[in-house]
């Protein structure tokens, strides 16, 4: 099981790493070919006015990559720019607009060259355009010199506000870039889908830990986002909800973030996590409408950092991986926000997920180990209890006694056999349990005393004090104390008193076990007494972890063992 699991983990990481590497490799395409240039300076004019003479709107297309200036298009407006071609262009040049939400008409030197959506006579007759659009520049306008660009922009319903961007460049290169983006999205989709399945397997395979399900849902939301992203870029965006569909790809990201926060809250064992989660869910949904993507992601990172910081404070298991994962996520995200790393956002998410698989994998491997160890311990304890009652020397001594009874007192012999059978039945019934009703334990003690009364021709009395009858105890602990007592304390004594009393005070339950045997410093019996006590300690540890204490020692008139258990 563990081996397959490790192989699975290995392949997952291999896949993730290769995809990040591939993504990084293909992103700087524009830098190298330099045939697509952003338009840096644009003039935004008032609605309805086409001011073609404005001289400040001049943009020179230079040989070099510069950060695109973003436009906040909150109103319906005219966007204007002067563009100077330094030489005649032979190839097909195109204008690409992105993050323009609404309907547009594009004019080049006063001529309408493209329409994105429909600008009607009024709002209801208008139709929203694509998230990303192209306008081919007619061949007769490709000569060197100054050109005038004007875009009529009708703002339509929108969710988050991202700055619009304009590029001018070779149409073929634009298309290449789109194909690249598309391919990358498919790769991203594969990673997220694999991760989603991976965590789903964890969820079903390892104790249905709810946080794995959250992480799986987080991945699924990115699967949806990866699906929507190329779709909204290249198809009419209003396929989901008209007028709100521009950033439909942000909605799954916002919903996904709720699962991310849920995952972190549950993993870091934050108190009142339900409340925090509800608050963050409200924030996320509101943020879809009210915050820009960057603002929202910043909020998310602050929340995540707060939760992980709590985890550090509480020294949560696996906190190291969470720290690395989140740290890497934030770093890549900041690089993306700065425009340094094209796919920093996705790379960040994937990096975080990879760290989580390491963390989860490590923990599960440890859990498997612990479980196996616990199972082994349990079965060892079970065997020990069984072995005690069917120990050869116990049986053989009992048989030797039985021989004498058969010869001398057949009726008693029959009773004796019955008692022996009773003890075996009881012990084998309770030995595989962790806790048994006190009554079963007391019965084992009584029957054992009965058997020893026969064998030793003695009379043993067993008293209990303060027991309510509904207590539960690990099997065989008092039975073992009785055995020990008889073995070491009643060599010559023909009468014995065993007392088990229980008291409870400030969160502790205390069992006191006393017997009135004559204990010399057990020279020959020490080792044997030790085995018995070791068995009791192992049982207590199994059931109560470290919340118990055992004291054992000689007292005046006998031997006393005190077992105290923290509630």
């Amino acid at each position: 099981m563990k081996k397959q699991f490790r192989i699975l983990l290995f392949f997952y990481h291999l896949l993730s790493a290769s995809i990040i590497a591939y993504g990084q490799d293909t992103i700087p395409l524009q830098h190298e070919e330099r045939t697509i240039f952003p338009i840096q300076k644009l003039k935004i004019c008032d609605t309805g006015k086409l001011d073609s003479t404005h001289q400040n709107c001049q943009t020179e297309i230079q040989d070099g990559w510069v950060n695109t200036q973003t436009l906040a298009l909150n109103e319906s407006t005219w966007i204007q720019a002067s563009i100077i071609f330094l030489e005649d262009h032979q190839t097909n040049l195109a204008l690409m607009g992105r993050n323009f939400r609404g309907a547009h008409e594009v004019y080049w030197n006063g001529e309408l060259i493209a329409q994105n959506g429909v600008i009607g006579s009024n709002y209801s007759k208008s139709k929203i355009g694509r998230y990303q659009f192209y306008a081919l520049i007619p061949p007769h306008f490709l000569h060197a010199g100054k050109h005038h660009l004007a875009i009529k922009h009708l703002k339509m319903g929108q969710a988050q506000n991202i700055g619009a961007r304009l590029w001018i460049g070779s149409f073929v290169d634009f298309k290449k870039q789109d194909t690249n983006t598309n391919n990358q999205m498919i790769l991203m989709l594969t990673v997220f889908l694999t991760s989603a399945l991976f965590f789903l397997i964890f969820y079903f395979g390892f104790g249905r830990k709810i946080s794995f399900l959250f992480l799986s849902f987080y991945c699924i939301s990115y699967v949806i986002k990866s699906l929507l992203k190329p779709y909204q870029d290249f198809f009419t965006p209003d396929f989901l909800i008209p007028y709100m569909s521009f950033e439909s790809s942000h909605l799954p990201a916002n919903i996904g973030s709720i699962f991310l926060i849920a995952f972190l809250l549950w993993e870091m064992l934050v108190p009142k996590k339900g409340l925090f989660l509800a608050a963050f869910a409200v924030l996320s949904i509101w943020g879809y409408f009210g915050l820009t993507e960057v603002q929202y992601l910043t909020t998310l990172m602050i929340a995540a950092t707060a939760i992980v910081t709590y985890g550090v404070y509480k020294k949560i298991d696996g906190i190291g991986w969470a720290l690395i994962g989140l740290g890497g996520f934030i770093t890549l995200l900041i690089l993306w926000m700065q425009g340094v790393l094209g796919y920093g956002y996705f790379a960040g998410v994937i990096f975080f997920l990879v760290c989580m698989t390491f963390s989860v994998g490590q923990r599960i491997a440890r859990q498997i180990q612990l479980k196996q160890a616990a199972l082994l311990r349990s079965s060892t304890l079970e065997n020990q209890l069984l072995k005690k009652s069917i120990q050869p020397h116990f049986i053989l001594n009992s048989l030797a006694s039985l021989q004498e009874l058969i010869d001398q007192n057949p009726e008693k012999a029959s009773d004796f056999v019955e008692q022996l059978a009773e003890e075996f039945k009881l012990v084998s019934r309770v030995s595989d349990q962790k806790l048994i009703p006190i009554e079963d334990e007391l019965n084992m003690c009584r029957i054992h005393l009965k058997i020893m009364e026969y064998r030793k021709n003695a009379s043993f009395e067993f008293k209990t004090e303060g027991l309510s009858g509904d207590e539960k105890v690990p099997p065989g602990i008092f039975h073992t104390l009785i055995e020990n007592g008889i073995t070491h304390g009643y060599g010559t004594k023909r009468e014995g008193l065993f007392v088990l009393s229980k008291s409870a005070n400030n969160g502790h339950i205390e069992y006191r076990f006393f017997n009135d045997g004559e204990f010399e410093i057990p020279e020959n019996g020490e080792a044997d007494q030790g085995t018995g006590l070791k068995y009791i300690e192992a049982r207590l540890k199994e059931t109560y972890d470290n919340n118990w204490k055992l004291k054992s020692g000689k007292v005046s008139g006998g031997w006393k063992v005190i077992i105290s258990i923290k509630n």
């Binding site: 050869p392 020397h393 116990f394 049986i395 053989l396 001594n397 048989l399 030797a400 006694s401 039985l402 021989q403 004498e404 009874l405 010869d407 001398q408 026969y454 064998r455 030793k456 021709n457 003695a458 009643y490 060599g491 010559t492 023909r494 010399e520 020279e523 020959n524 019996g525 020490e526 080792a527 044997d528």
Partner: protein, 228 residues
Amino acid sequence: MRILIVEDEALIAQRIERLIKEILGQQLRQLNIKSTLESARHHIHHHPIDLLILDLNLNGKNGFKLLEETVAGAFQTMILSAYIDQAILAYEYGVLDFIPKPFNKKRLQTAFERYTNHTYRAEYPTKFLAVRKKQKLQLISVDDIIYIKGAGNHSEISLNNGQNSLHDKSLNHLTKLLSSDFERIHKSFIVNLKMVASISNKYEINLKNGETIPISRAKYKAMKDQLS
């Protein structure tokens, strides 16, 4: 015969006592039962016995510590135990017999025959002899013994390191416990055959350490044949 039984389970003690009385009848001079080792020690100290029948909890080393003490005594020791897997080890410490529990009258009878039969050799010979040195018990390996000389009720063991040790058992008792490497060649001598160099015509045996010890006429011929 004077017998001490050490058994802490009343029914079993009762059984041993009953069966011994049936088996030995008039031969039994004295029979005591003790339920603890302390009281048994005390008894042995004050009353000489011929045979100790010991129920020993041999589970663990402490059991053998005690066994060491009893096998050093002048009497023979028999173990009556439920720890049957320890039988061979008990023999190696020098017990005459190991009677596993449960047991019947026939098995006890066999044990007593072994006690009385002078030619009987223990099923597994002992590997050690417990000797008393300066009031302390010491185990010596039987392989280190050159010969044992009878001296009244006890024996003098001559070791190959040149030292001598005293043992409380008589030669009769010891013969039964030792392996066939040890031969009773004289009423007062047991020799380790591995230590014999030659046999002289003067009814004497020359040992590898240069000593000579006497050999009885009865044994002389057999030994001569065996060594030539």
